[in-house]
Each structure stands twice: as C-alpha cells, then as structure tokens.
Homo-oligomer: 301 residues x 2
C-alpha cells in the first residue's frame, strides 16, 4: 500500500547528558520517514526554506522515500528547534523555536500522491491536518498525532479531525488532557468514542498501549536498552515503524496492529541510540528482525 | 516450600480521589501475606502493640497464614500510617507516621519457623533485616525490599544485606538512587554486581522488570485496569504473588521467575481495586488464573 507522511523538517540543536549536536536534521516527517522506509516506500510531503542546509535527496538516498512532495519555498526560512534533556531524559525542555516556514501555508500534496492509501499526519494544527487530508482522494487508513498545545487551543478543529481519522497516536499526558481522564484505559476508551477506531498511547521509556473498537487491547514495554543517547524523534520513529509495517501488510487486523507496534518500538529503540537520524540510518532489515525477536523473548511468558 | 515473611502490621488511614478509609489494616507483612497465601502457605512474623484493633486470626482466617510469629507486645503501640493519593495516584504523600513498636526491638522468629526455606524480608532497616535473617538456619531463597531512606542512611548495612540475599525487589527510583545510574538496565546490572542473583524493579503503573545473573531479562507491563481505588500495598502484594508462586513451585528458573512476576502483577491488580485488603480478600484461585490469561492475551504477539 502507498504510504504518505506530512510533517516537519527541522534544523535541530540538541543537548543531552551524552553530548551536543548542533544544526542537525530533525523534524517529524524526517524521523517518521527514516523509520517507515525500513518497511515500506514513503511519499514525503513537507516544506523548507531556501536556507535549508540539508540535501534531503542525499539524506534519504536508497531508502525509497519519494520527495516529490518536498517544497523548497523561496523567501522562507526552515523550521528550527533547540532543546535539551537531563536526568532520565524522559522530557525535552525546549530552549528555542523558530517556526519560520511552519507558520506559513502548508505544502501542497502533489497530484501524483493524491491516491495515497495509508496516511500519517504528523503533529501540526488540526485545521492544517484536515486541509492536508482533504487533498487526498480516498485514503484507506489515516493516522494522526497531536500535542497539548492543540488540545488546549484548537479543540474544535481537533474534534473534527478525530471524526475523520482511523487512528490517533499520542502520548500519555496528551491522552489524559484530551479526555480529562486520569486512568489510561479509560482515556483510551474515551478517545475511541471520539471517532478513531484505533488509539495508540505512547508512554516514553515505559512503552505503548493500543486499544481498538473491536475491543482488543495490547500493552507493550519499550525495548530494554542501556544505549539512550538522544530521545528526539523517538515518537515519530515509533509512528514510522507502525505505519510502515501496516502499509507493508495492507491489513489493520489485531495481529498486524500488534506487530506494527513491535516494529515501531524497535525502530524507536534504534532512533534513540544516537543523535539526529544517525541511530536509525545505519540499521538494516536483519537488525530490525533481530530486535523484534529479542523484544518477544524478553516479554513472553 | 515453606515461605516466611517478616514485615510490618499497620493501622492505615488512606485518602484517594475515590474515598477515605480510616484506621484500616495495612502494613507490608499483611499485604504480602494476603497475596502470597493465594499461592502458598505463609509463616508470618511481625509485631503489634496491645492497642491493635485487628484480630489477625480473623483477617487471615482460612488463608493458610501461620501466625505463630505474631507478637502482641505489652506496653507497646501499633505502627500507624496515614497518607493520601492525588491525580494519577502514582505516589503516596505521607500525612503522618507513628513508628511505635517498629522503633523497638524486632520480633523473634519462633523456633518452629527457623527451618523456613523461602524468605521475604519486607522493607525495614537493613541491620534489622540481617538480624532476622540470622535467626534462620539455612534458607534456600531470600528476597528483600528496601527504600530510599535506608539507601541514604544505612548504605553500609544495606551492602552487607545485598551480599546475603538472593533477590532484591525495589522500585525504579530506589534502583537509580542505589546505583547512581539513570538507565534502568544499567541499574539492574549494577545491582546484580552487588550480590543478589535476581533483581526485580517495580515501575508502578508501568509494570516491572527482572534481570538475573544468568543473563535473563523480562519486562512486564502492569495489568491494564480502570479500577484503581487505593494503590497502598500494591508493591507488597506484588512481592507476595512473586514469592508465593516461587515457594509453590520450589524452583528459581527463568520460567518460574517470569510466571511469578505475572502472578505478582495479577495480585497487585486486585489489591489496588479497593481500600486496604478488601480488593484481594475476595479473590479466588480462578480469578487469579483468569487475569493471568488476560495479561498473557494483552501482551503477546
């Protein structure tokens, strides 16, 4: 199945207890695509300014990422983010943001991508996520991410979005904020009542859980690793693994959803192993299979 | 195998978003024994004052808990604790403590218990845990719990204890404090280097993990439930399920340890479903088996 992602491309500066990485490539669409392309070809939609220091053709060389949806906008500047992690690195503190081109019109989905079947709308204003979705003819499975900022400031748009997507991927705190529930199981069920047929709640180093309208529930720990260098992009890498596997199988049944979460978890475990995209860039198919088997081995009884 | 527990008996007053329970029975040895007795007979060692409002024979009636190690000390008062939980209820805040009899000499292990094979030393001063341990002739498998207070104030005694026990059960924050490590996998390995052949790290609503010297690692989510009324005693109920199952099987191999953690997780899931011991008191063997199967169902792929 064809898989399209819309999201950000960023110039990131990240500080963790393990080092410092200045002006490295980041952004939700980038992290997502690095992971998803391990499983499936990816159609990439995003926008940068003419100042963008990265050659995305080179970044994604050999990975099956179709960049015909990449817009290099004249007179605009690329999104920049700088952040730092301390202690157990569970939460980034943002040191600086320049939205730049992200505060302008979203990119257009090119004609040749409009028949995309599987779609991931990375975190942005829900109104823009709907606009992007409306450019697609008849997507089969649409997933979206969101964040606290939109839950608070754009809840009406978010409700409209939730009614039009198949799966919401969000983190624990966001799920609680969105639903007003303090229990995660109750929050998950409340989100299903809002529209999506699948919800995945990410719990950072504690893993993730999935509930769907068929009543299935799956709880998965994170991959146990002592190599955590930079958590930036872990959530988008996870989503990339999930959607990449779903697009590969073309099925949204319980087995596929569970396996997709395992692949997402494995992709995230590589992503956090180095700064920027370096952790996942070196990964090969057999590395993925090997950690899939290891995750099964450490969780089964 | 015979299973002995030493720990506290408390008069608890607990406030959670779901209600208030005044002067109810609590304490580590009580919660442990309620859970462990679902799997194995328990030999109970603990001390109360003459003011103790509970009849422990009645509390444990029909559960196979041998109370010949219960001392009712003349002129002493029973341990009291009051605490409250807010929000996601992950952390109790202590509103009041009266150590009373716990600040005096520990109870004596009665002669007829000194041949105990499996032993759980619930949280208390590590020096006292060693004293209790020395009263046993040749225990086969000794597990202990500890807490931040002892890690900070009694680290020398704790090191001596770690050298003499087979398994340490502690929570995430304690594991990080004890080892100075921020990564849990590294913390677990560091603890194994300190002596025990098995370490179990409890992660509250996120489940638990186990590492042993044979190189096995097991990661288990908590039982997903929306019924969380009072988390008091969850950790001791978990330990009770773990030790109860291990004593029942008489084996400390990988399969038994993993299954023991599942039983501990299931026991804890019942314990948190009501105040004090009410959540676990009504549980029968088939309830345990049913949640064991459910936990397998929601975690397997």
């Amino acid at each position: 199945m064809s898989l399209l992602v819309t999201g950000s491309i960023g110039v990131d500066t990240v500080k963790t207890p393990f080092g410092f990485s200045q002006d490295c490539i980041g952004g939700s669409a980038v992290h997502f695509s690095m992971a998803a392309s391990l499983f499936s070809p990816v159609r990439f939609v995003g926008v940068v300014g003419t100042d963008c220091p990265f050659d995305l053709e080179e970044v994604f060389a050999g990975r099956g990422v179709d960049l015909r949806g990449l817009e290099i906008r004249e007179g605009s500047r690329t999104f920049k983010w700088s952040g730092s992690y301390e202690g157990d690195m569970n939460e980034a503190s943002t040191d600086g943001v320049e939205l730049n081109v992200l505060a302008e019109d979203p990119p257009t989905v090119p004609e040749e991508f409009r028949d995309s079947e599987y779609v991931f709308l990375a975190n942005t204003a829900p109104g823009l996520q709907i606009e992007l979705l409306e450019q697609l003819r008849s997507p089969e499975f649409v997933a979206a991410d969101t964040m606290n900022h939109w839950i608070i400031t754009a809840s009406d748009d978010l409700k409209l979005l939730l009614d039009r997507i198949d799966m919401l991927v969000l983190n624990e705190g966001e799920a609680k904020l969105l639903t007003g529930q303090r229990n995660l199981m109750t929050a998950a069920k409340t989100i299903l009542d809002m529209g999506p047929r699948v919800v995945i709640i990410k719990k950072r180093e504690y893993g993730s859980m999935m509930c769907n309208k068929e009543g299935d529930c799956f709880v998965l720990p994170a991959f146990p690793t002592s190599v955590v260098i930079d958590p930036t992009g872990a959530g988008d890498s996870f989503a990339g693994g999930v959607m990449g596997h779903l697009a590969r199988t073309g099925k949204i049944d319980t087995v596929s959803l569970r396996e997709a979460m395992v692949f997402g978890t494995v992709a995230a475990s590589f992503a956090i192993g180095d700064f920027s995209i370096h952790g996942i860039k070196a990964v090969e198919a057999n590395d993925i299979e090997s950690r899939f088997d290891m995750l099964r081995k450490v969780t089964q009884f």
